[in-house]
Amino acid sequence: MRRPVTALLALAILAATTVALKPVRAAVLDLVAPTPAPGSTPAAAAAIVLPEPPAPGQSVPARTPVRPTTGPKLTDAQVSAAVAAIAADAGVRNLLGGADYSVADAVPWVTPGSVTPSVVGADVEITLTKALNGPVALPGIRFDDANVGYSKLIKHGVVHDASRLSVLVDFRDNAVVSINPVGAARIDELPGNAHHPARGE
């Protein structure tokens, strides 16, 4: 007889606790759930009705996707800080050997897994006046499985036709932490790189 009574008592306490905490939980959810999302779940998401699909031969006016104004953005000061960090980085200077470059784009690097992501760095694309070719040792980072922290590494390879570079600047250290050729560039691997299992995004 004692066990059923204990179980009932536990259920009652659980129910009372749930009711008592309801306003607290609601308040916390209000804090963490912006409107309309990401606090929303799939079930709460609104429906978007698609247009009729086009038929073969049908002429469709060219569409220019409009970028929403929402989402993380870099401030002018952050862009300037990233550009200054790149200009001051000895690794960048050594890699480019004094060659000129221009900044083509800069996008935010944010902390993952948060409803209010904060900008922790910048991903800056630079265009080189003279393409890189030859052996390189490039700084890189590999994120942990939570995609938050990272470890630094060096990539050894031979680069071909690298006229654009993606340069990651971590504002927490005000430092360049990664350089990667992008676009049509190719890198042939040299010995000495530590390999990890592929994680499959």
């Binding site: 779940t41 569409r63 690097w109 897994g113 592929a198």
Partner: protein, 226 residues
């Protein structure tokens, strides 16, 4: 268009409601390992009561804003089917042995669902330390490997991205480039046609979230499959 039936039943939403309540109720805000987040998660209504979500997910339970992988970016329609579309993109030759599965949540009204479909997709190469590999996953109700309604005919949906340096400093980006590369390859087959960035799926994201570098413009490309 005649008699188009636009609704989504509560029944269709129920499984995901339960898992969402469990997830939100626990106040766990971080996603699964490798997951990314979005503030633009929507049901996509293709008519006649059909829907799919505008992202795929890293889980087949508790799908939500913090367990997304990539935005849906291509719709193959008229006479599409999963293996047929994969077969019409032969440069994407590497399959499940080198690609991880993800899940999409969908409902083909009156035929199947709601529920998840899983796909590992196809890649243009196997993973390497300093190489890059374009990658798409393609989804439809698993019993038929294709949706059907009177507007779109037989159709399937795909997400796209680009894998880089998977064995070393891995990062993932360029949904747009792979969207166009895949769509153009399938559209180059006889009788097929393509309309780039035809419909707004409202999954625009353009920033780095850890190694998940969002580069998707929110619009889906349509490919007519003959």
């Amino acid at each position: 268009m005649m008699g188009r039936h636009r609704w989504t039943s509560f029944r269709a939403r129920l499984p995901i409601v339960v898992s969402a309540i469990a997830c939100v109720g626990s106040l766990v805000l971080a996603g699964a390992a490798g997951s990314a987040t979005t503030d633009s998660l929507y049901q996509i209504d293709t008519g006649y009561g059909d829907f799919f979500y505008n992202y795929d997910f890293t889980t087949d339970s508790g799908a939500g804003w913090n367990t997304v992988d990539w935005g849906m970016s291509v719709i193959f329609y008229n006479n599409a089917e999963i293996e047929k579309v994969k077969g019409e993109a032969p440069s994407y030759w590497a399959g499940a042995s080198v690609a991880s599965p993800m899940w999409a949540y969908m409902w083909n009204n009156g035929t199947w669902g709601p529920g998840y479909d899983q796909d590992s997709g196809k890649k243009t190469d196997s993973p390497s330390c300093l190489g890059s590999t374009r990658h798409f996953r393609i989804y439809a109700p698993p019993t038929t490997d294709r949706f059907y309604n009177q507007s779109y005919g037989y159709y399937v949906v795909a997400s796209t991205h680009y894998d880089h340096h998977e064995l070393c400093d891995d990062w993932f980006d360029d949904s747009e480039g792979t969207e166009h590369d895949l769509a153009n390859e399938v559209a180059s087959q006889p009788g097929n046609a393509v309309w780039h960035d035809y419909a707004n799926l409202s999954n625009y994201q353009w920033y780095d979230e850890g190694n998940h570098h969002w580069r998707q413009n929110g619009y889906a490309t349509y490919v007519w499959v003959s």
